[in-house]
């Protein structure tokens, strides 16, 4: 009866195959589940994108029952979902919400979970299909994966019921630990069943990088060292570490942002055209970019990277605390800011620097990729106008906020005498498309349910990215400390970052 109602009300509108299944969320009482996953699942249900026969089982230590879990889920939807509560949708959605209280890694707890899943399999006809979501810290995830090992139903997607695993970052702390984690995962799950989630890849604007580059014939011919002077990738946050101080102090900006989000953005910008838009082809090309990234020896780490930590300051007219105060750690040298100069040593990008930077407590939140083109080879107007006014053409892909693409180019000011000034041509997603875009988690959850791994990172990608970042971490170990804090909150970062790019005769874009 419930499943019939579910089919009627939440019948899928997604054109791809929709296998029935049960989604198990480990860490269902945690922040990630409450703020992101459960609201995203409701939004998918509202838009009739979920499989018709579908259930969610939450697993966590909190001693709740199904009703208590439903209350929590409803509140989280009210607070964080895109869609408002529609009682009919909620009734169907909540009918197949279950909760199992347990201890991670404890056989009895997992046995209770298995029993619950079997009951749902029988009631909904899910055929034993499982999607496990690890919304737990890395250590806990490893414990859970280890105990999932003897599960009798695991197997590749094409051999009966499927079991898939979604893993949240961080995927290790360095190359060795990433390899170890991959070994553990692969001892249970074949790579085709593993979905390493980097929510940046679920953002519409990130996916649009591929569309912009490869669906338009005009850009690819100029997307190379002949026309591009350099590329800047910026992931700036105005927030501090907030409640993540404990985690962050062990991680730092390099591990938290560069190894994953920034490396993914870089790969999408620098990759060669894949032969198809599928998981294998796209990820093959990304891996090639990582393999072509120039490795740094300790001297190069010193000259090609800058790091910093924020001191107290002012942002948006509000006084904010230092990292040490935010994180509750005194004397920590953990970096909250990283800038790097990277090179992709291949035919397309030889000698084109990729400047990347990320930091906390910067003046504003923004994620963008700026492609700065070379100046015109012959400055026709040099005798008429001040050449210093002739700024280069810049193509900017804004990932968030104010998602869109803009192009800065020079134009003649109407009238005489001849004057030239930059103008901006602006495409704003929100202005062009009135339909609200799905959240990154909606996109990625749906892809995982459908077994499409295109927007997830593969084991070899993760290891290749770690190989580069581990070199930087090793280099930093051999260098004297950056002398932190070295940038005031609300400023654009440490002076060392400016020196890094200015030594090449370039400058950071204004945030």
């Amino acid at each position: 009866m419930e499943s019939q109602t579910l089919e009627q009300l939440i019948g899928s509108t997604d054109e791809r195959a929709q296998d029935p299944c049960v989604l198990v969320i480990f860490g269902a009482s945690g922040d990630l589940a409450r703020r992101m996953l459960l609201p995203a699942l409701y939004d998918l249900a509202y838009d009739r994108r979920l499989p018709a026969r579908f259930a969610i089982v939450g697993f966590a230590r909190s001693a709740w029952d199904d009703d208590e879990f439903r209350k929590v889920v409803k509140n989280s939807i009210k607070e964080f979902a895109r869609r408002t509560i529609d009682e009919a949708v909620w009734e169907s959605f909540s009918a197949n919400l279950r909760y199992v209280t347990g201890t991670y890694g404890e056989p009895e707890s997992h046995q209770r979970l298995s029993s619950s899943l079997e009951v749902l399999d029988a009631a909904l006809g899910t055929g034993g299909n499982r999607l496990f979501y690890m919304a737990v810290p890395p250590d806990t995830a490893e414990t859970i994966i280890a105990i999932l090992q003897p599960h009798p139903q695991l197997g590749p997607d094409d051999a009966g019921p499927w079991t898939r695993l979604i893993v949240e970052k961080p995927f290790g702390r360095d190359l060795d630990s990433a390899r170890e984690l991959n070994r553990l995962i692969h001892s249970t799950f074949p790579e085709e069943s593993v979905f390493r989630i980097d929510h940046y890849l679920g953002k519409e604007t990130v996916q649009n990088i591929l569309v912009f580059r490869f669906a338009n014939g005009v850009f690819e011919p100029i997307w190379n060292r002949r026309y591009i002077d350099h590329i800047q990738i910026t992931v700036a946050e105005s927030l501090g570490v907030g409640k993540r101080g404990g985690y962050y102090d062990q991680s730092g900006a390099l591990r938290d942002m560069v190894q994953n989000h920034i490396m993914q953005l870089l790969a999408l910008v620098a990759m060669e055209p894949p032969i198809a838009f599928d998981g294998r082809a796209v990820r093959n090309e990304k891996v090639k970019v990582f393999n072509a990234l120039r490795r740094m020896d300790p001297d190069e780490v010193a000259s090609s990277t800058a790091r910093g930590q924020y001191a107290a300051g002012w942002i948006g007219g509000e006084e904010v605390r230092s990292y040490a105060q935010d994180a509750g750690v005194e004397g920590s040298s953990t970096e909250t800011y990283v800038a790097m100069r990277l090179f992709v040593d291949n035919w397309r990008w030889a000698d084109v620097p990729f400047y990347v930077r990320t930091g906390k407590r910067l003046p504003k939140r923004t994620t963008e990729i700026a492609i700065q083109f070379r100046r015109a080879p012959h400055l026709l107007f040099r005798n008429i106008v001040d050449v210093s006014d002739m700024e280069p053409t810049v193509l900017t892909i804004r990932i968030q906020p104010n998602e869109g693409i803009s192009m800065k180019f020079l134009t003649k000011v109407p009238g005489a005498p001849m004057r030239i000034r930059p103008a901006m041509m602006d495409f704003v997603y929100g202005a062009a498309f009135v339909n609200e875009a799905p959240s990154a988690y909606e996109t990625l959850l749906l892809d995982a349910l459908q077994g499409d791994a295109t927007l997830f990172t593969r084991a070899d990608e993760v290891e290749a990215a770690w190989e580069i970042m581990t070199g930087v971490l090793e280099g930093w170990k051999q260098m004297p400390s950056a002398g932190v804090p070295n940038y005031e909150a609300g400023t654009v970062g440490p002076a060392e970052a400016d020196k890094l790019i200015e030594s090449d005769g370039r400058e950071w874009r204004r945030l």
Binding site: S238, G313, W314, I315, G316, G317, E318, E319, P363, K364, R365, T366, E368, D386, S388, D389, V394, T396, P401, N402, S406, K408, V413, R419, R421, P422, A423, M424, D426, V428, G430, A431, V434, G490, R509, R510, L511
Partner: protein, 380 residues
């Protein structure tokens, strides 16, 4: 090109909320286009520059808003008007968003320029760069127009300047000339990445053009190397001493006539003597009554020349009651000539328009400003 003004909701908060502002501006453009947010098209947004206006009070803020709106056709901008009230005890930021829209010729859509007005109270007003930074459009040049005298708080000023590509003041409205002009010169010398602009320099443009044109004409050219005295009259103010216009003009005239100012002596308030190899050159700055002009504005400039053989000539450029003309009087041994020349209105809008046309330093202005400094002690 009929203009409409649409004001969206205004709100107060403890800090500036850049993302709320961006999203509200987006909505404002929907509404300006007469479309509901659920469908239809936006009004076109257009910005060639970021223009930050620092206004020292609400009245100046409103005045700046009207003035900038009138320039939107020539300089479509994201305008951020800041009214700072640092003396209030609590930090607070009041935000108001406005779109200045018009139907552009050849388009059936509205074209809008955005204006964000921020009233910043309390300690936050001492950290204006932190308020501003999130609101600037990254790819566009950033002009800062600072209304009023220079602040005592160099930190505040420095922060604003650090974000600017061109920093525009109006030294003609400085009331503490003896302090502000040297400070301005100091700022210009250390601002490598920020060009300094001055509405006062634009205000003096017609005077400079007329003097330059007459002094290169055959009638006066033989006398230009024999300048003996210059008298600059300017409109009196009852309380304040608004000396910046005559001072800056003295600086420019010294450069124009190639005078050596290394031994310049101030004789008495308003009078300075610059000894030259060929004899002394006297500068006199005199306050005078002149109806319907802003205090401090130049009223006349009289330049007297005398050659070593004793022949003399003079050039007098005078303001007329009609603001669109200057009167030119030339006396020289063969006779007298009196003419009028039409000039631009010299209003603030025109001056700002010219300042917004350039991003780079004007070396002539900077040299004139530097040459002005020896005259500053002569300001009464």
């Amino acid at each position: 090109m009929a203009e409409t003004v649409d004001t969206l909701n205004a709100w107060s908060g403890a800090k500036v909320d850049a993302e709320r502002i961006e999203s509200a501006l987006e909505r404002l453009r929907y509404e300006a286009a007469g479309m509901p947010p659920e469908g239809g098209s936006f009004a076109i947004r257009t910005s060639f520059t970021n223009l930050v206006v620092y206004a020292n009070d609400e009245e100046n803020g409103r005045h700046a808003s009207q003035l900038v709106a009138g320039l939107n056709g020539q300089h479509p901008s994201r305008t951020i008007i800041i009214v700072a009230r640092p003396d209030e005890p609590e930090s607070r930021i009041d935000t108001q968003l406005t779109a200045h829209c018009h139907i552009a010729p050849g388009l059936d859509q509205k074209v809008c320029c955005e204006e964000v007005t921020l009233s910043v109270f309390g300690p936050a007003a001492k950290h204006l760069h932190s308020v501003l930074a999130p609101l600037l459009i990254p790819d566009l040049p950033n002009y800062v127009w600072w209304i009023g005298g220079l602040p005592h708080d160099h930190h505040l000023f420095g922060g604003m300047m650090a974000n600017a590509d061109r920093f525009i003041v109006d030294s003609g409205r400085f009331t503490r000339t003896a302090l502000d002009l040297p400070q301005l010169e100091h700022l210009s010398s250390r601002a490598d990445n920020c060009a300094l602009g001055d509405l006062n320099w634009q205000r003096l443009l017609p005077w400079r053009q007329v003097i330059s044109r007459e002094c290169t004409a055959p009638t006066l050219a033989p006398y230009v190397g024999h300048v003996r005295s210059m008298k600059l009259s300017f409109a009196r103010h009852e309380q304040d001493q608004w000396w910046s216009q005559p001072l800056l003009m003295c600086g420019w005239l010294s450069l124009y006539f190639g005078l050596d100012l290394s031994s310049l002596k101030v004789q008495e308030p308003g009078t300075a003597i610059a000894p030259q190899a060929s004899g002394d050159v006297t500068f006199r700055m005199v306050q005078t009554e002149f109806p319907d002009v802003v205090p401090g504005d130049l009223v006349s400039i009289e330049i007297r020349c005398e050659t070593t053989t004793g022949t003399s000539a003079s050039l007098t450029v005078s303001r007329k009651a009609d603001p669109l003309h200057l009167e030119i009087a030339i006396d020289e041994p063969t006779g007298s000539i009196q003419t009028h020349v039409r000039i631009d209105a010299g209003d603030e809008r025109g001056m700002l328009d010219r300042e917004l046309n350039s991003l780079t330093h004007d070396p002539e202005y900077l040299n004139a400003l530097r040459a002005t400094l020896p005259f500053v002690p002569a300001a009464g």
